[in-house]
Symmetry: C2
């Protein structure tokens, strides 16, 4: 059993680190969302556009897109429907596996991506990257990488 006095409560240092991380992730997402708003995109929209832009032929299977954006299939399906209605992507059926579908960037989606990306990068710099002293960023990533690996193993489905 777990009694109260057994519990390895967080030290002050740990508590501060943890809460700072929480605050930064939430505030940062809000800020990036706000910076994307003038372009009519959400963070989720943008991330889909990035993934498709970087993909072979500007297309990815729904499954792969769900995996790489860390979303459930259900959520991705809704998300793509919305983006399809907005004209940014389209669905195309897959020859080799008739269950499958590709999400494909449209011309308009690609144009949007190229137009918005510089502003988004500026936003990421302004509110995150450029606030680290050059050395620290490397250390920051090094610290976080094992955490990311651990979490990826831990999770079953989303």
């Amino acid at each position: 059993m777990t009694t109260d006095s057994d519990t390895p409560w967080l030290t002050d240092q740990e508590q501060r680190a943890w809460r700072t991380h929480l605050d930064v992730s939430r505030l940062l997402m809000h800020q990036l969302e706000r910076d994307l708003q003038p372009f009519g995109l959400t963070n989720n929209d943008y991330e889909i556009l990035v993934n498709l832009s970087e993909a072979e032929d500007h297309r990815l299977r729904m499954s792969d897109l769900a995996t790489s954006t860390l979303q459930s299939k259900s959520r991705l399906s809704h998300q793509i429907t919305r983006m399809e209605n907005a004209g940014l992507v389209r669905r195309e059926s897959c020859e080799s596996d008739r269950r499958g579908l590709y999400a494909v960037l449209t011309e308009e989606g690609w144009d949007t991506m190229r137009r918005v990306a510089p502003h988004h990068v500026a936003s990421v710099r302004k509110h995150f990257i450029d606030l680290f002293p050059a050395e620290d960023l490397q250390a920051f990533r090094a610290s976080l990488t094992p955490v990311a690996e651990h979490l990826r193993k831990e999770r079953g489905g989303l």
Copy 2:
């Protein structure tokens, strides 16, 4: 104007740091949510409980609670309604300012908090804190603190 070649794209190092941060924050929230599920709480529920537990008299003004949990007033209002229905919290009117309301922890809310907290702390340790070499955690927090400060200044409303 902003042309493509003007844009200070992220370097490889920067890109990796940024994406790792993104992945960790999302995966971590999912994992914590999953670990709370057996207790019938969401991350949001838990955070409200923490804030009220630490507050004078186990009560906070709706506004203050919204500010410290970084949520909009509307969202908090709905959230508290749900928690009220679940018996964790109740609303009490405020003497000194008749517009105002307190959110107050109920007995059941306080019991729940004490029962769940050890498990939640264990979860935070397992998936985050304990994955940092002792020295690194301090450096991690130090790097993130200016980011948090910047973001707090930047944001107007939520």
